[in-house]
Symmetry: C2
Subunit: 391 residues, 2 copies
């Protein structure tokens, strides 16, 4: 079967550029080479920024190749890498590629070896490395003069030598490989940055929320537990397809749960930590915390749903809660979930005026309050989590 | 000059895919078409997700074209867009492209018009639109069946009609355009997400820090001012090349300044708000706030420099500060900058035990304290900011 290299190249470039994970991309490239060019196996030596070395990724191809232990990682100072990064060696390639046969040719030509000091040693060392991996052709992949990687091809399956046309195809392909790789690496870096920033956001919010939490002597660890329970409830509701939510729902619930009591910062310490029943005025003051919390978060763009969750976590399904006296479906799902998790945790920890209930007793209370104090779906799911022993 | 379309296409694809800003990419594509194909002008109708319509981006080319006001935005229901999204019209293109001449041909063929209801109206409407923009060829750009945009070409400069080979080139090009565009759009979305997350992180941290700040009755707005002054100092130091910092320095300084007094959450309110001089024990308690702040933030990954800034913002250059009694260069730049900004703001606001100093008086104090209480460079830069009236 004759290969239309131009067309293959175009198709390859178009496929590759759409793959935004470097690891998936490498597997794709290696598989593509093995299939299209009918070699026994192929691999890519890929530069790893973090490890400051080139890592060998090998496809098993049709015959299979085993990488000797300790050889998967190649130093930038090793002969194979230096050959492609040191410009004085550039003239010893076939339009970019380096073949096993060509190395033998160079090594037989004593004039060449005299002209370039270090060439013989370098070529012998490369030949050893190619022997080790059963490699016939090395093709460098440059992106703006930087060696991103080296394509390595094993023996061809039918004929013995590679034609110049094939080598030219590999060189052109390696150019597109470099482009696709760099593209994927940039994507990967952006994605990592997103994950990193997100983690930092959650961790910082958690640290600050926990600290504010600590001002209330009776609720040690309350914020963390309410957050954990709220997320477990939401995840189960989503998994069981009992609610339909958007991408940001869990993040918003997470932040709202972490910050649900943030408004307590506005309640004087002597009321917050009073050892005994609160009088009417003190109760009113404490009951202001959802509104205070909401007002703290209101100026932040894109936290609308979080603000709502904080503001309404003391609303009741029957409309007898505070601050707004909302009813049933008027209360957001985020607020409804936090309300249940919050009450469960309050019931199962010691308070100045009563000892903790057992989990089972608390669950019974919540079941009784379903449709009255609690959103029925939220009450139902925490009961299920309890029975699964996931609380 | 004969054009090697294959080569042009490969080069174009390789250039385009490296451009990660959709707007830059569009300008590049339009300019490329105008130059390579020798048309008077070219444009792209590009779908805008936010505006839910197609926006016309036009190059002036060699002759120039003026977009009539109100025509830059095209509804997805307009004839030109419907022609390329409604599959029943697909057979009326030249392998994908639609030419002005072809439209006229179809309109003369009454059989065609009878076969497909709505065709005549659609074609007349498209012809009007093409007349308006002086367009000869429309080429759709699909990405996985989704119409991302339409390339629009004006008249050729030398000959009158477009050859089929040219139209084929445009169709192939438009495929790569779609790929590059989608790639750039994904980049853009990731970049936006990064900016969005970062803003949310800073805003939330600021909201929580300001709230904690508010517990200390005498320091209203302190956190915001210290943050503003610290950043102004650092930016000036960087602009004047007097310090060399990494990418994250300003972000870390920003967070550290926002959170420098976070440890005050651990100081009882009656000490924090005491109206009069503090006794030894109370002073010791307040002086614990840098350590408390650091311990709150310590569990957060990647905030090492922030933790350090919070912990050491009461160290003194001469080693007589707290909590660690660090000296000179042992104190980080972030802590040194915050120390100066913090003292400046404390001096220029009223305190229970003394009225505010004027800015000039405070700057004189800082000058006197340079090399003793303050890092000389940090002291120097706040003095300069004062003289520039930037404080």
């Amino acid at each position: 079967m004759r290969i239309n290299y131009k067309k293959e190249l175009e198709d390859a470039a178009r496929t590759m550029i759409l793959v935004h994970s470097p690891q998936v991309l490498i597997r794709l490239i290696v598989r593509m080479i093995v299939r299209k060019v009918n070699v026994h196996h192929a691999g890519i030596l890929l530069f790893d920024q973090a490890k400051k070395s080139y890592i060998l990724n090998v496809s098993k191809g049709k015959l299979g190749i085993k990488i000797p232990a300790g050889f998967a990682r190649i130093d930038p100072e090793s002969a194979t890498i230096r050959f492609f990064t040191d410009k004085s060696f550039r003239s010893y390639t076939n339009g970019g590629a380096l073949t096993y046969d060509k190395i033998n040719g160079f090594l037989r030509n004593k004039n060449n070896l005299k002209k370039n000091k270090g060439l013989e040693e370098t070529l012998l060392s490369i030949r050893n490395q190619m022997n080790l991996f059963q490699i016939q052709v090395c093709v460098p992949s440059y992106f703006q003069e930087e060696l991103l990687g080296v394509l390595m091809l094993g023996k061809k399956i039918k004929t013995k030598t590679f034609y110049q046309k094939e080598l030219d195809f590999f060189v052109a392909l390696s150019h597109d490989v470099a482009m696709a790789l760099r593209n994927a690496q940039i994507f990967d870096a952006l994605q990592n940055q997103i994950n990193h920033n997100k983690r930092m956001f959650f961790e910082t919010t958690k640290a600050l929320a926990t600290t504010i939490d600590a001002k209330d002597h009776y609720t040690h660890g309350h914020t963390e537990r309410v957050t954990r329970i709220s997320l477990a409830m939401a995840k189960k509701l989503i998994m069981d397809h009992r609610i339909k939510v958007d991408d940001k729902f869990l993040d918003d619930l997470n932040i709202a749960a972490l910050l649900h009591d943030i408004g307590k910062i506005g309640v004087p310490e002597h009321i917050l930590n009073k050892n005994g029943m609160l009088n009417g005025e003190e109760r009113t003051c404490i009951n202001g915390h959802p509104m205070i919390g909401a007002s703290i978060l209101e100026p932040i763009q894109d936290l609308k749903r979080v603000v709502d969750g904080v503001k309404h976590h003391h609303e009741r399904y029957d409309g007898r809660g505070y601050p707004d006296g909302l009813k049933g479906g008027e209360i957001s799902l985020i607020a409804s979930i936090i309300a249940v998790a919050d009450t469960f945790d309050a019931m199962t920890t010691d308070r100045p005026y009563r000892p903790a209930l057992s989990k089972t007793q608390a669950i019974e209370e919540i079941t009784r309050g379903s449709g009255l104090q609690f959103h029925p779906l939220a009450a139902e799911i925490i009961v299920e989590l309890h029975h699964e022993k996931s609380l």
